[in-house]
């Protein structure tokens, strides 16, 4: 039972948080169990060496299992993990010399230290201790920047990338953590039972593990504990109807998914209406510290860039140059290719021709997270937020690429990780205050009105310390008062040296804050210049402004 807690806690990280459904976890547990058994029985290695070796060896398989997730997701990934489970089973059966094949492997002993031999009870105590440590370990991870990264990529991969998260790496990290814990579970299991056979690690066991997670509650640190306890205790009560066990599990799964998608812990939390913990807000006004690098020549240069979508030309041989510290607006009719242009620069879409340079480096072949790390951040037109996360967590995700604490540092809560986390929270709250959302930090982001969610995006983008900030319709849906506040905010951001590139239809706003305005129509640049100049350009009036605004 306590072993299940360890394994399911790992599953919670990869499936609950990172959203990568694994139906092959029993295969990972098998690797841990057989590695430990073979090392101790065949080679006489001590349990204390075999345990970590088994965990690390299983973690390597976690990478293998994680690789497909870089390309596929959802049901396809789940199918691949099932195949992995079967594959491990076949390997065990095909290797009788080492594994004992179907007959199983005997003679695995309980550990000992010097002359002290663990009794069954003492060993069980050890396992419980390990389970508690695991819960602590997982709690530290999911409350760190890594946990946020996992939640972010589960919610919206594109948004996670442009917020500066290397989602490929993050997914592998989640799989490795999960496999490591499965390996520990497997090793502990083999020594507890002194005998292992392939039956214990088949696909139905993977389902049971997932069921424990669902019943207990995903993304809840105590979910695995509750699920493991209930689903191991249940069969004891149901001993009389042993043969219907699978049916009962099946019903439990369906009931769980339909009536309590957040599991028992989620349901209890809902009943008690537990308000999420509000982080300690540091006292005093916090001025965000923008990192400002001196750039002499060549900031953002878009050179002869084109983009075709299945033969349709969305952007046609465009040149744009953004100067450091300026506010540059892009306006034009709906469907002119404005958002596409921003997608090309931020790496969300690939260019079909031309080149894009940022501070002399070509960035048109980089991934969005690399571009963010270079100092380009963005918000989205059709408001993109990490839906089931709080306002504060949404903003903190933006700081991911500027915090360099590793997974291990986060898991062990080393002072460095704790300090950078505190600084990040401090900074995030500062930005929220500036954007008028200081009192909303602990709210679920989707509880905010649409327009304010866009402000959360602005704060998230600022967290990555950009030198160039793209805002796609920052004042859409704001009222006049909020628009004048956004004007002030943008001017303040500009004062810190950050260049701003914005798309907006609110003409007065654009003309008030921009240094230079570029006008698009049908994917082409039709005008560029100072606001006043552009506003009086007959082509712009005809294509965009209409007579009223001339």
């Amino acid at each position: 039972m306590a072993i299940y807690i360890i394994v399911v806690s790992g599953l919670n990280v990869v499936t609950g948080h990172a959203g990568q459904v694994s139906l092959g976890h029993a295969g990972l547990v098998a690797i841990g169990a057989y590695t430990s058994a073979i090392l101790t029985v065949n080679y006489g290695v001590s349990f204390w060496v075999a345990l970590p070796v088994a965990a690390l060896f299983t973690a390597v398989f976690g990478v293998l299992l994680g690789i497909p997730s870089l390309r596929v997701g959802g049901p396809y990934l789940a199918l691949i993990t099932i195949a992995f489970n079967f594959l491990i089973d076949k390997i065990i059966l095909a290797w009788p010399g080492m594994t004992g094949a179907a007959a199983g492997k005997l003679g695995i002993r309980l550990p000992s230290i010097g002359n002290y031999h663990f009794s069954h009870a003492a060993y069980y105590g050890l396992i419980i201790g390990m389970a508690l440590l695991t819960i602590l370990f997982c709690k530290n991870i999911v409350t760190s920047r890594w946990g946020r990264a996992f939640n972010a990529l589960r919610n919206d991969e594109i948004l996670a990338k442009t917020s500066g998260i290397n989602i490929y790496y993050a997914k592998l990290v989640a799989f490795v953590i999960s496999a490591f814990l499965a390996g520990i579970g497997g090793s502990l299991w083999s020594h507890l039972h002194s005998y292992i056979s392939p039956e214990a690690f088949r696909f139905d066991r993977s389902i049971l593990l997932l069921l424990m997670l669902l019943v207990g509650g995903q993304r809840n640190i105590l979910g695995p504990l509750v699920g493991a306890v209930i689903l191991t205790a249940l069969p004891e009560f149901l001993h009389a109807i042993e043969e219907y066990r699978l049916i009962i599990y099946g019903i439990a799964l369906v009931v769980c998914v339909i009536f309590m998608p957040e599991g028992l812990t989620g349901m209890i939390r809902g009943r008690l209406k537990i308000v999420p913990e509000i982080p300690v807000v540091p006292k005093g006004e916090q001025k965000p510290g923008f990192s400002l690098e001196e750039t002499t020549d060549g900031f953002l240069k878009v050179l002869n860039v084109s983009k075709y979508f299945e033969g349709v030309c969305a952007v046609d041989s465009v040149d744009i140059e953004v100067t450091p510290g300026s506010v540059h607006a892009l306006i034009g009719p709906n469907g002119a290719g404005k958002t596409t242009m921003v997608n090309l620069i931020t790496g969300v879409e690939r260019i079909s021709g031309g080149e894009i340079r940022f501070k002399k480096d070509r960035i048109d072949r980089l991934n969005p997270y690399q571009i963010t790390k270079k100092g380009i951040a963005r918000t989205f037109q059709n408001v993109r937020v990490f839906k089931d996360m709080t306002v504060l967590d949404n903003v903190l995700v933006g700081g991911h690429c500027r915090i360099d604490s590793g997974v291990l540092e986060a898991a062990l809560r080393l002072p460095k990780a704790r300090k950078s986390e505190e600084q990040a929270i401090h900074k995030a709250i500062g930005f929220l205050g500036i954007l008028g959302l200081g009192d909303k930090a602990s709210e679920l982001v989707t509880n905010l009105p649409h327009a304010h969610q866009h402000s959360v995006e602005v704060a998230r983008a600022l967290m990555s310390d950009p030198e160039l900030l793209f805002l796609d319709e920052p004042v859409a849906g704001l009222n006049p008062e909020e628009i004048s506040r956004m004007e002030v905010i943008i001017k303040d951001i500009k004062k810190t040296g950050i260049a701003i590139f914005l798309i907006e239809h609110y003409v007065d706003f654009v003309m008030n804050i921009s240094d230079i305005v570029t006008v698009f129509d049908f994917g082409k640049k039709i005008a560029e210049g100072a606001p006043g100049q552009v506003q009086n350009d007959p082509r712009v009036i005809e294509a965009y402004l209409g007579v009223e605004h001339a």
């Binding site: 404005k338 596409t340 009105p449 649409h450 859409a476 009222n479 006049p480 209409g546």
Partner: protein, 240 residues
Amino acid sequence: MSFLKVENIHVHYENVEALADVSFEVGRGEMAGIIGRNGAGKTTTLRTICGLNHPSRGNITFNGKAIDDSPPHEIVNLGIAYVPEGRRIFSDLTLLENLKLGAFKHYRRGEKGKVSENLERLFAHFPMLKDKIAQLAGTLSGGEQQILAISRALMSSPVFLLLDEPSMGLSPMMVSRVFDAILDLHRQGMTVLIVEQKAYLTLRMVDRAYVLTNGRITLSGTGEELLDNEEVKHAYLGQR
């Protein structure tokens, strides 16, 4: 007699009260507007009318029939159409398929003629629709998706149109075209309830308007009356 009557409704999200004792009316053939800050409860009001939220207290009647307990599809069948905020479209379907889905009601009743009539009228207002008819809706630009969302609602020939921020993300020229289209339908007898941040534009257009503040209606009057109101001028029109 009022066409839509909202009487003393309260709406809660979990334990937060989003609307408190809200009452207002929209007469048949009228154009009404709701203005207010973000978070005041404007979207909630529209969602409650079309059955996506249900009031915990109070009544909503449409054309004399109580609708506060009805599911959304029944409300649509009564002739109410809702254009939600933020371009909700079916991205994987073509533009035409999106429009046809809007006319679901007509197809079920075998009114094919009505469908092509509506399509022609929309093409006249928004030639863009015709040009991109076979394109997947997800590949349209944000503003184009907004036009599509409004057009889809109009495909059901609603007698009552609920609009949530129709001008969001539209170029100045497109905003006038959208409002022209709405006014055109209004002149032919369609009742409209509109929620907009562009308060000046809205108040100039509507017969009657309500100001929503923190989930309560704090002011009401004709469009002109509110345009002249000092409080409104200051808070919503950005004049000092």
